[in-house]
């Protein structure tokens, strides 16, 4: 993958944020909060870090793979896929509409390039990512698997079944990440179901931990990903704790669960877009 400057990557983030907001606004449904918060990380993966081919093949042999377990953040993934050439940018305008390939939650059913497994029901993506990583080993494929999860999602028991398994089976070609925005639907995770010290939990399960304290700062994200990559191949799976702000980039959306799954109205959209430069042209 060719490397881009931080400025360039930040420019892409601004456009992707615009895409997400416009997509969610157009159908008055979807999940803007975490999409805005995870933007730097997912843009860094697709535009800088992962070796991948936008001429999509389900098998992904010889490529790094990405799985979005918190599937409600679909708008972000679709925008990044379109902007990196998997399908035409205008198709973003069909998001969540009838007969679209851009389903509310990622799906393989309609054959959208880039999607390898359906997600939306939380807690399932890490298991799938681990399975795909083990297949890579069986195939002597030295590329990596990336899995993204939410922090509220950590409350699902299956996540911890997967955690135990990956360490036991030394799945060390895997970099998982948790979007630590400290919010979920009913409120702050601390109030809904306290996760206490997630890093200590994952460490106790036998994983190597990388903290990206500034998950909305591109330089920190790139640094954290480089560190995570350097830890692969050492007999342990790698977990990135990505500290982000839900709603980052739009002043009235930052830091609250209230924008988890609510679309901006016309006025709010205009206000939000005023804060985000149109760098690559709106769809």
């Amino acid at each position: 993958m060719e490397k881009h400057s931080i400025d360039h990557l930040e420019g892409i983030c601004s456009q992707v944020r615009r895409d997400c907001l416009r997509m969610v606004h157009a159908v008055q449904s979807g999940h803007p909060g975490a999409a805005l918060g995870m933007c730097e990380y997912v843009v860094a993966l697709f535009f800088n870090e992962m070796e991948h081919d936008s001429d999509f093949k389900m098998d992904g042999k010889g490529e790094d793979l990405f799985f979005l377990s918190n599937g409600h953040v679909s708008a972000l993934w679709y925008s990044v896929l379109a902007r990196s050439g998997y399908f035409g940018v205008p198709e973003l305008g069909t998001f969540r509409k009838i007969n679209s390939r851009l389903q509310g939650h990622p799906a393989t059913e309609e054959g959208l390039p880039g999607i390898r497994i359906a997600s939306g029901s939380l807690g399932q993506g890490l298991s799938v990512g681990i399975g795909a990583a083990q297949t890579k080993k069986l195939n002597q494929d030295d590329k990596l698997v990336y899995v993204m999860m939410g922090d509220g999602e950590q409350q699902e028991g299956q996540v911890w079944e997967a955690a135990m398994y990956a360490a036991h089976h030394k799945v060390d070609n895997l970099i998982a990440a948790i979007d630590l925005n400290r919010q979920q639907i009913d409120g702050p995770t601390e109030k809904v179901m306290d996760l206490i010290d997630l890093g200590a939990k994952w460490e106790a399960f036998g994983w190597q931990i990388v903290n990206i304290e500034k998950g909305n700062d591109m330089a920190s994200v790139l640094e954290g990903l480089a560190k995570a990559k350097s830890l692969t191949g050492q007999g342990k799976p790698v977990m990135i704790l990505l500290h982000t702000e839900m709603g980052y980039g739009v002043d009235f959306m930052v830091g609250t669960h209230k924008w988890h799954g609510v679309a901006p109205n016309d006025e709010q959209l205009e206000n939000a877009l005023g804060q985000l430069e149109e760098t690559l042209g709106d769809y």
């Binding site: 159908v27 449904s29 979807g30 599937g71 969540r96 509409k97 009838i98 007969n99 679209s100 851009l102 389903q103 509310g104 939650h105 799906a107 059913e109 309609e110 359906a118 997600s119 939306g120 029901s121 939380l122 807690g123 509220g152 999602e153 409350q155 699902e156 028991g157 979920q184 639907i185 009913d186 809904v192 179901m193």
Partner: protein, 324 residues
């Protein structure tokens, strides 16, 4: 379309059926100190906020952990609590099927599994969330009572009826704003079908949101000189086989209508009843072995043929088969 029709039931207000559950639960909590609520990070979506506010000590936020929630609820019945669990229908059934099977159904525990956002009318979230198999899964379980009310008032009445019903139960409701066409003061009898409209040529058996579509279909058929009987099957299990057989003995053919897969749902239940006792033509309105997708509720009901127009079409086919 509806405006110009002479409907036997009309409405002045629309509301979501999940609000009927939320309001019913609040009243149930006031009537009975043993009623407790559990929710898996969807308090707003399930409309459980009022109950939580009034009875904070009887309400349990379990986080995004549905399997744990079902187990907790089963445990709470030991000693006399009446737990009402709340999450989306998909995560209330498929996600936790074995927990329900072993800890609730097989162990015969008094847990009320309350499930919102069922079916296609959930809309834009798409197929991952639009469960169309839940009635089938739940009705296959021994001991389980399965209820799918048609509007806000009936959902509220069903919620209240469940407090006095002892045993495992599944209560299914939805997200969209929907006509309120049944009375607020109705008595909800679990297991008793409700004949809403008398007819003689064909019977329409409907459940959930599609009862309204059946009411519209009856008026459309009447305009064409066809007399349809409309029966509201709010309880899928135990099924009121007597009401079904009485009606088909008179009309000689039927249509079933549900927001569910054809496999395993209301239509199959009715087919079982008819085939054993009184074989007669039966046409199904439901989703034919496919997943749903994103779209508005109205678009989806139209695309998948879950509306009055399709009920009319199927009724005519049933009639033709009867005379054919």
């Amino acid at each position: 379309m509806e405006k110009t029709l002479d409907l036997k039931y009309t409405y002045t207000e629309k509301k979501d059926t999940r609000s009927g559950f939320g309001d019913g639960l609040l009243e149930a909590g006031r009537n009975n100190p043993n009623v407790v609520g559990l929710c898996a990070d969807l308090i707003g979506s399930l409309k459980m906020g009022a109950f939580q506010k009034e009875f904070p000590e009887r309400f349990f936020q379990v986080g995004i952990a549905e399997a744990n929630m079902i187990g907790l609820a089963a445990g709470m019945t030991i000693g006399g609590k009446i737990p009402f669990t709340g999450t989306f229908a998909n995560f209330s059934t498929g996600r936790v099927y074995d927990q329900i099977r072993q800890s609730v159904a097989y162990s015969d525990k008094n847990v009320k599994i309350c499930a919102s956002h069922a079916g296609l009318t959930l809309g834009e979230d798409g197929a991952t969330h639009q469960i169309l198999e839940d009635l089938g899964m739940m009705r296959m379980l021994p001991h389980m009572t399965v209820i799918n009310p048609c509007d806000y008032n009936q959902t509220k009445a069903a919620t209240l009826a469940l407090v006095d019903h002892v045993g495992p139960a599944y209560l299914r409701f939805g997200r969209p704003s929907w006509p309120i066409f049944t009375p607020a003061d109705q008595k909800f009898e679990i297991g008793k079908a409700w004949k809403m409209i008398d007819g003689k040529d064909v019977t329409i058996f409907a459940t959930g949101h599609l009862v309204w579509e059946a009411v519209v279909a009856e008026a459309m058929l009447r305009e064409e000189g066809i007399s349809a009987e409309v029966i509201n099957i709010h309880t899928i299990k135990p099924l009121d086989t007597e009401a079904i057989l009485d009606s088909v003995a008179k009309t000689g053919c039927a249509v079933s209508a549900e927001e569910h897969q054809l496999n395993g749902g209301l239509g199959d239940s009715i087919a079982q009843t008819l085939i054993r006792n009184h074989p007669a033509p039966l046409e199904y309105v439901g989703v034919n072995d496919s997943f749903g997708e994103s779209g508005t509720p109205t678009q989806l009901l139209e695309k998948y043929g879950l509306n009055a127009e399709n009920i009319v079409k199927k009724a005519k086919i049933a009639l033709r088969r009867k005379s054919g």
